[in-house]
Amino acid sequence: MKEIKEHTISARQACVIIVMCIFANKILLLPSLMYEKSKADAIFAILILFALDLIVLPIFFKLKQLFPNEKLYNILSRKISPFLTKLIYLIFSAYFMFKALLVFSVTYVYFKQQIYQDEFLFLAIIAFIPVINHATAVGLRSFARSIELLFSIVLLGFIACLAFSLFTQLSMPIFFISNAKNFFTTIYEHTFAFGDYIFLFLIIDKIQIKKGQEKNFYFYSLLGMGLILALFFLFYSKYQITSFMHNNALADILVFSVQFNAIGRLDIIAMLTVMVITLFQLEIYNYAFSESFLSLFPKLNVYYSIAVFDILFAILYYIFIGKYEILVGSSDIWSPVPAIFINYIIPLICLIIILIELHLKKRKKKDQTYLSNKK
């Protein structure tokens, strides 16, 4: 029986995976969606969401320190109950499934508008699915290495998009125009696009973190978040009130004003960057789905999880076929509650486990000292 290959990945590889997760769902549609309610204040909204995400990171490190080579599934089943753990993992499976669907949909809409113009759902699915399935089958180590290899190129592409957008007329976006209600509604509605560290919890046993490498995680996270913030800022600077019309932020900031049109179509940079990022994100989410699925059904092998992923993906797409905009547009209705549960409640549970574990350790130490003193 073939299981997902148990190889470990280095801290750097985990870091670049995190950057890919940070990019997920935020580089195309999100700036425009968030603008609708909170205008340019969306930048502050994502700042808050990023800050909430970052709080999770120390919890992850502490958990890793206390349970260095243990799976999250085992930790949770031991500390809470196996039944609840199974339930949590069921939610995990659904969560990553929908993250994959959303990434695919957003990118698909982009491709459809920008490149293919006609229907090409079939093409997109047969181009993407085998690759991400293969990545899951060969395991975390291989695709983490691939992401590591192309990371600098992706980063370069991203920065190039931002840099080229500076050639056009920009003006400072106007801040503080949305009211508190709209602002917090935006935060609530778009929680699903965040929570990027949860994948780390899922592969906690497969990451090798040497002493002192924790700061790398912060560095890469800040890099990713900084780029997203820069994208939001430049996008709002360029489009201002028409931001709601432009659904593909990374590509749209490259649409040059009249004077630059003669140079040619530089949006191919954005296109390739988006393609690579999307593929990697889908690989991550497919793997995450498989990982949680196989924890639920430990007797099955990776091929079963891939098959289930594909079937669910196809069914969900069949339901939404031709209505992928609905999938994207409705995400603010169905997504926030599970997103809050996964993004914040799970780390909170982990935090409680850590505190209990630390308390137990302390008491054990105390008992030992007491006993030795008694002796």
Binding site: S10, R12, Q13, F111, Q114, I115, Y116, Q117, L123, A124, I126, A127, F128, P130, V131, H134, A135, V138, G139, R141, S142, F143, R145, S146, E148, L149, L150, I263, G264, R265, D267, I268, M271, L272, M275, V276, L279, F280, E283
Partner: protein, 474 residues
Amino acid sequence: MSYFNLKKKISEIKTTLNESSDFSYRCYKKNGQELGFVFLKSIIDQNLLSEAVFMPLQTFDEKITIKSLIHNIIKCADVKKIKEEDIIKEILDGRVVIITNFSKEIISIDLFKFPSRIPSEPPTSPVIQGPREGFVEDMQTNLTLLRRRLKTENLVFKTYKIGSQTQTKIVVAYLKGIANNKVVEQVVRKIKSIKTDGIVDSYYILSYLEERPNSLFKQIGNAEKPDIVTAKMLEGRVALIVDNSPIVLTVPFVLIEDLQNSNDYYTNHHYSSFVRVIRLLGLLIALVAPGIYLALQIYHYNILPLNFLITIADTTQGLPFTPFLEILFIFLLFQILYEVSLRLPSYLGLATSVVGALILGDTGVKAGLISPPGVIIVALSKIALYTIPEQASQVTILQIIFIILGGSLGLIGIVSGFVYFLNYLNELDSYGTPYLAPYSPRIPQDLKDAIFTSPVGDLKQRPKTFSPTKKERL
């Protein structure tokens, strides 16, 4: 009491060797002592035989014993006692076997000789500056070339004979204390496990050594020059020298190896870095240029600048083929010409290029069968292929795959294909070494000699990629 009936024994040997016409023997009698010399005259040095064996034998006046034969009479370096059952093997190895009627012991003398060429510059790895010696078919010469460069007791040659019919010698060469023992053990284990009747060239053992013999990708390094092999061994790699082959194999193999060229170390490192970037670019162009051209033409008109679009649209207007078939046609045309030019005698080469380039290409365009941009793109990718000739065969297959992907799925297909192959290669390990190291996984210290290179003096540590036993270059 006589131990051997010489005539009978010799006739036995002759029969075993199927009375081969190059089988030869000579009997020598003196004072009732008989010595039989059995050999294959095609592979021994007969002059040396008379000078180093017969002449001293004639002048020797005392009673001949095996001891005196070895120590006093025979003037050859390699004389040894052998067992009776090894007689045939020894004869086939180009040795002269001596059997006597006064002793049970049998002697074998190494008088092997066969025509060998002088080490010259191999055609596939010419250098502008640097050593021009290349390996030859004679293994002994090859070992000499290596030994001359590595004057250390740590240089180990371990010989194995493989092939029931060919009995080909395979030498595993490595530097003890530098090469990773696990790799050496693995190589030896794999070589010992080879079961075949013949090894004709070093490439015959590739599939036995590769971890995934069915893979499209090359997993074993090769070199034709002793300086390259020496450098690789100093990095902690293991070399395999196969008799009768001028190609020496090295393991473990990493992809970046083929981007590097011995010339890079004999020129300024800035220039070397530049050239390596060009090679990488060449590789990328070779891989995806036709595919991207097709993708742009079939799916992504809207991302082409208008002027470029006009050129392509005008030139492809009225072609009888769809873009995919056009590119495939030009591709096959080039491949056929390439095969022809390889096999044609050199004096016909010019004719081929005239027919190929001028008549087929130019007339094809004028006849409206193929378009000029198509010819340019395929030609460019085919020329770029030879920036890294070592990878030419597999890249050609990949070109076809990317042409199909580009033609059917557009840019998404190409990017997906690229990521697929990347994932595949990242899973591929060659003797415990990641295939795409030092970039994935990133090994910072090895980046000094990857695409960008530092001066040789700065390379104070052996590449961590190959997990050498001794890390410092001292």
